[in-house]
Amino acid sequence: MKNALFQSHAVKALAGRTLRWYFDSPSAYVTLFVFYLIIGYLFSAPLFLVKAASLRGLAEFAPLLLAFLVPALTMGLLADELKSGTFETLATLPLEDWDIVLGKYLGFAALHLVCVAGLLFYVVVLDLCVSPAVGLDWGEMLGTLLALALTGLAFGAAGLFASSLGRTQVVAFVTAFLVCFVLFLLGKSAGLLPGSLGTAAEYLGLDSHVETLSKGVLDSRDLVYFASLVFAFLYLTVQRLQSRRS
């Protein structure tokens, strides 16, 4: 246990506490309400406007929505502890920095994944609306939800890092939004950039990965992309917490 990267009991306790913290504050409910409202609109709009059960619009627009909403959920994760001084309590408990970072992150991740899973309700409704002869493209549906889940997880890690930068939640929010927006924009602008710059932007940007997934194609390269983003930001967060102690 002494040399482990993290201690599971502490991570579990912190993740549970973080989840509780979300449900104790109205801001989480407001964020979730906005999430379901807008995603619900994106789900149903094509159905009524063009009479197609497609999630193209959702896959296109949802990352931008998440770039707003996820930072709202993550901005307080560490900034709040730094501001109230409870970070000193955490940092003087027998915890590794990874325990704190993973605990906080997994608390957020649990909330986010439950939210995305809640969207299955929309999918079921959609399935009921589609004539059985045509059927629903379940690959596309589940792929899009997976893309949303992974995008949110990556944004959450960026948001947690932004939250470690200081005591001010607004700074954490704006920084996280900027990082998420750049990731979103990179993919969009890939076509406009010349040569290898364009290729790099395409790989680093969200668009190409979200697009593949939302077509129902499960490619390990996309999974590696999201996993690397999560790991990179969590690693940066740990580094940041360590640098705060000197």
Partner: protein, 308 residues
């Protein structure tokens, strides 16, 4: 036990803690005194491995703070300055959370510890209350309860009574007194009666350096450069003055107020009280009062920490 060897911490060009060394044996309760900004909190943060030292080493319970910070923290209860708490939790939830993070993962054992600290810290009345709604006195008790939830051998408390009213100060002091038989404690404060009331020993720090270390009474003795004995005696003033001045060891006699009061000064360490008594008996001068002046810890503190 707590050992600090030449602990030094600099922030930019400012040295907050400057080669601080002390050795606190097991079971001793030490008051850590100093004006605001003297380096008390920084020293405590170095001891709890919250901040790394720039120079020097610290050892708690025989373990190196820099090399085994997690092991050290397992044996340590720390109450940070201003007692930060998770406001949204209910009192027992907060203690369970602290317990879980301390590695008390067995539910039954943890529940037992929570019950024990709720009792020992007098928190029973507030069970069910949210932390954010507790009064300052109860918050402080909760902070202490959370710090001892894992029954640590060492307690480091940063200003445990600051901002409390006199009754609450008494309560928290009482709590500390109850814990003192089992734990090694370092308690920072800038309230001096606090240290005299609760501590075996005081360490005074100023501008990052230790300026005094010893028992409260010893410190006062060491500081005084001479003894002053206040004598109130009924007798002819001139004659009494001369007789007092003639006592062996008496350096100077003055009669500040006309009448029966005299002050006999003698070199530090001398005690003229018995001589004065015998003189008064011989001459049949009734003694109305006899008082050896002692420097209070407050005077020692002020002398050691005033700005040059």
């Amino acid at each position: 036990m707590i050992i600090a060897k030449n602990l030094t911490k600099r922030f930019g060009g400012r040295t907050a803690v400057d080669h601080v060394s002390f050795d606190i044996p097991q079971g001793q309760v030490v008051g850590f005194l100093g004006p605001n900004g003297a380096g008390k909190t920084t020293t405590m943060r170095l001891l709890t491995a919250y901040l790394p030292a720039d120079e020097g080493q610290a050892e708690l319970a025989g373990l190196s703070v820099s090399e085994q910070p997690l092991e050290v923290r397992r044996r340590l209860g720390y109450l940070p300055e201003d007692n930060p708490l998770w406001e949204d939790l209910e009192l027992t939830e907060a203690l369970h959370f602290a317990g879980r993070l301390r590695g008390l993962s067995d539910d039954a054992a943890r529940a037992g510890r929570v019950k024990a600290v709720v009792k020992s810290c007098g928190l029973r009345r507030e069970v069910g209350t949210k932390v954010g709604e507790l009064s300052k006195g109860y918050r402080q008790r909760l902070g202490l309860a959370a710090a001892i939830i894992h029954d640590p051998e060492i307690l480091i408390l940063d200003e445990p009574t600051s901002g409390l009213d006199p009754n609450q100060v008494q309560e928290v002091r009482g709590l500390i007194r109850e814990l003192r038989s089992q734990k090694t404690m370092l308690i920072s404060t800038h309230i001096l009666p606090e240290a005299t009331a609760t501590c075996d020993r005081v360490i005074i720090i100023n501008r990052g350096r230790i300026v005094a270390d010893g028992k409260p009474a010893e410190l006062a003795g060491n500081m005084a450069d001479r003894n002053r004995l206040h004598v109130e005696l009924r007798g002819p003033q001139g004659e009494v003055s001369r007789a007092l001045a003639a006592l062996p060891g008496a350096a100077q006699v003055s009669a500040p107020a006309a009448g029966e009061s005299f002050v006999v000064e003698s070199p530090a360490g001398a005690d003229l009280r018995e001589e004065v008594f015998r003189l008064a008996v011989r001459a049949d001068w009734p003694i109305l009062s006899l008082r050896q002046e002692r420097l209070s810890l407050e005077e020692v503190f002020r002398a050691l920490t005033k700005d040059p």
